[in-house]
Amino acid sequence: MLGVIGAESIDELFVDVPAVARRTGVVDLPLHAGELEVEREMLGLSRRNRSASEGPFFVGAGAYRHHVPATVDHIIQRSEFLTSYTPYQPEIAQGTLQVLFEFQTQVAALTGMEVANASLYDGSTATAEAVMMATRVTRRNKAVLSGGVHPHYVGTVETLAHAAGVATERLAAAIDAEDAVIAAIDADTACVVVQTPNVFGTATDVTKIAQAAQAAGALLIVVTTEAVSYGLLKSPGEMGADIVVAEGQSIGNGLNYGGPYVGLFACKEKYVRQAPGRLCGETVDADGKRGFVLTLSTREQHIRRDKATSNICTNSGLCALAFSIHMSLLGEKGLRQLALVNHQKAVALRDALAAVPGVEILTPRFFNEFAIRLPVNAAELVETLAANGVIAGVPFSRLEPGAGLDDVLLVAATETTPDLDITIFAKTLTKVLAR
């Protein structure tokens, strides 16, 4: 091959590298290893993690453990889905494109919105994108965030908003006060951001917030971190949302220690030209046969460059596929039932924890997650319970250290939570608190 190229050595091909940066020999890292050795090494690391399936587990706060049907993982490992690129050549990417079209339709239906995009990275970055979009639509420059929005989502929004010169007003953390954003709306407000169920698990009818925002010329952005809740709770679209963003991990995707997940993004059709990310649309081919293409691409970075609606390129295609397959398997019937089972488990957990001396249930209306007040520091208690085999939940102080809610613990239950584990949790908690 070097002969064909006309080079004496591989080194000649790197002739443009400045001498100061040319490295002979290998860097100071281990040399190659066989499959057996690598697998052994990885297995060793994985064994030092306590997986959710090993015992009682009640962690939520933005990521939820659900059962993913075996079919989902089988299909997403098919070469044609796993090892293909973004479908820029539609004639040989109809598989991915039809999936995206179906995904967009599913997301629009779930959220109760007119249109949805082909996914963003995750729920938190989708929220930041939604805020930026609202400033473009309204040509205003301030976002108001409720005290129920996940603090890490708030952090993600604030980071980007600060750089983009968008003002943010975040209300103090509050368990059941999504409505409080109404008072903060003014003539500069581009959007209000509320979450339901919120980070404390509280489910809220946001209809009045939508009306107040829109009357003031602002958009309502509704955030959901638990997509399965759409199977039980009224959709944001039915309550008047302008933009809906959600973490789609719950459907079809594992916990994966925080990623990859899939950001759902839906909005009213009239705003779609300001939307971030890829969109798949229907069209026909030269023979008049139906087909799908990526469309409205002039919004995107590869065409609009510095005037694009977002800088996003790679999204969460394979996670969106997993979401769509799981959603197809569930159907409306299965989703509603799954949501009911989740709620039932959480109610059982509430009843069990309410009976523990010293524990106060804080969340008035919830889907599958709620907050409790403990007579002790929640972070310390979680460590103690972990040492006793129970992964109890998320201390709110881990999400927002300065909120003065060090005694608050967020706990979640799903269809994967055995009744016995709920009993074990309550008993262990009783014992630990009694010490």
């Binding site: 691409s297 002039t298 609009r304």
Partner: protein, 121 residues
């Protein structure tokens, strides 16, 4: 009708100028799929962005060839952007601007000059 080097055309009737893009520009852009026309009441200065015209693969700014206030915008283009390709120098107009500085027109090209300019491209 008068023309700019950025391929906008202007047709003045009284103190109102109708503005669009030339047939040459429409052909270069290819199939127009979306047009963003300005809001009525917007004040524009010569050379500022007036509208955006999009094909599948490109988005282009249309600059105001004259200064003034937008008094009418061609709302029909949102439903039928193909009009820009079909009749760019007639029904495919973008906006009507009430001139604030008619003297600006003097510096624009007439058709002969514009066509001579095109032949240099």
């Amino acid at each position: 009708m008068r023309f700019t080097k950025d391929h906008e055309w202007v047709l003045v009737e009284g103190d109102v100028a109708t503005v669009g893009i030339t047939g040459y520009a429409a052909e270069q852009l290819g199939d127009v799929v979306f047009v963003e026309v300005p809001d009525v009441g917007k004040t524009v200065k010569q050379g500022e962005g007036l509208a955006v015209v999009e094909s599948v693969k490109a988005a282009s700014d249309v600059y105001a060839p004259v200064s003034g206030e937008v008094v009418e915008a061609n709302g029909e283009l949102s439903d039928s952007p193909e009009t820009v390709n079909a009749v760019p120098e007639a029904g495919g107009w973008f906006a009507r601007i009430k001139l604030s500085n008619p003297g600006e027109l003097d510096a624009l090209m007439d058709r002969t000059a514009y066509e001579a300019f095109l032949s240099t491209l």
